[in-house]
Symmetry: D2
């Protein structure tokens, strides 16, 4: 999934933010626990969609994207204290789902810490029924990715 080529106009990494590793993110091996990276990815996905300005429907809690799949490759362990940079991009816009990729690097050296992707499916929350991606969403994603060009 992560190695596929992004579709036209996608995969341009339009957004990134930096995070300070917290002491409590470490597990008993003294490294950031494997779950923490996926919490960072969760936040990064949310930031991406907030940046699109499409939170109205999600706030109404009637419909929105849910995570159907995710995968992650861990490259180098990190520990507290450390600062990482998490970048995200949409690489695919399907009929009822889309793919978001992420890359986590050391903020200082840009060394790759972890990378992966998630598949989000648009659903009606009350029923779990899949919904087609709206044209508004498609246009907003393409416009946002284009800004990174």
């Amino acid at each position: 999934m992560t190695t596929k080529q992004p579709e036209d106009g996608l995969g341009r990494w339009p957004i990134a933010h930096e995070i300070n590793v917290q002491w409590g993110d470490m597990d008993a091996l003294g490294h950031v626990n494997n779950l923490v990276y996926l919490r960072w990815f969760e936040n990064a996905r949310i930031h991406y969609f907030e940046a699109l300005g499409l939170r109205a429907a999600m706030d109404a809690r009637t419909e929105g994207p849910i995570l159907a799949r995710q995968e992650i490759d861990y490259k180098i362990p990190v520990s507290y204290p450390e600062r990482v940079r998490v970048a995200t991009t949409v690489t695919r816009l399907g009929n009822t789902s889309f793919t978001v990729a992420f890359r986590i690097v050391r903020a200082t050296t840009q060394e790759l810490v972890a990378e992966g992707a998630g598949v989000m499916v648009m659903v009606e929350y009350a029923t779990g029924r899949k919904l087609p991606l709206s044209d508004e969403l498609r246009r907003a994603v393409l416009a946002f990715e284009a800004r990174a060009g």
Copy 2:
């Protein structure tokens, strides 16, 4: 708060359950992290109120208890693998709030691991307005505590 005498008919520890420490509960010092004990307490409070059979109003999400205060004393550190026993009791029934105490012991040796208490306030979720404890709740708590006698 934890050292106060419980009110009449309360403080009888009517319920307890056992929990296996998870590897991921440990932090970088190799001990169960301080937050985990309060997650156990959160679960124990919920089990207590489920045992009362009063979940109807909470499920409706219109009103219910929220945590206004908590305190905990850590006695001995525990690590994975370990099994602990968490007991809870209501020690006070006020006008709009009540106090739940908890004790965590090693399941094998009964050594005291941690103890503490939380103050729950009954509120209307939408507004945050405090509500008087219902007579139904008072009766249910007293009956449940009496069973432990």
Copy 3:
């Protein structure tokens, strides 16, 4: 990764355990958060390797398996209260790495909740250097999987 055929003598799901969903496992959408499933998988992996009786080296903290990759497919959302069953199996034994697959089902109905896999790499903790899987580990895994036959 999850869809590949297991190697000979592997993929027999020799171990499973049941878990009660905790109230605090839910996120603001009222479902168990995506990270929690991977915490369950973390525990399940550890239980698998404890069942092999090979904890000596890991306790010594000189060498052991670290997670290099994981992937998960979420099938149906679950909420508190619910009981799930997590089964694990080793599906591949490579030179310096091995693959552990997991399946999470509703304990009552056996409906598939989530499934996935992780790649563990054997390393010397101090240096991060990859180590060959020991013959002892290979034999122990094959014997453990055979028991499930």
Copy 4:
């Protein structure tokens, strides 16, 4: 504990930092979960002691402060998105323990969100034996608090 007057030269709130609430910090009631505030406090304590420049002994993992008790009062619920400010101060320097107080406010309006305190005991990690606070630590804390005057 939180209401006691700080000792001379202490309780001056020399350090604070701001934190963005994360979406995943919320629980099923749609508010930041009660544990998250104590994770913020954990980080704030660590920042305080890093600011003292005394990490040498802790890095060596031979001795350091462990949490013996904590208490927290929750004043108003917060939700994602929100930015909070966490301030800490040492209010007491005992023989083998000291007390750290914290206050969490909305970064925008300064409304009090939560406040509390923790008692840290200095121990030798290997044995759990209590150690007297070093003169170096006392001087460093007093100098750091004085800076806030």
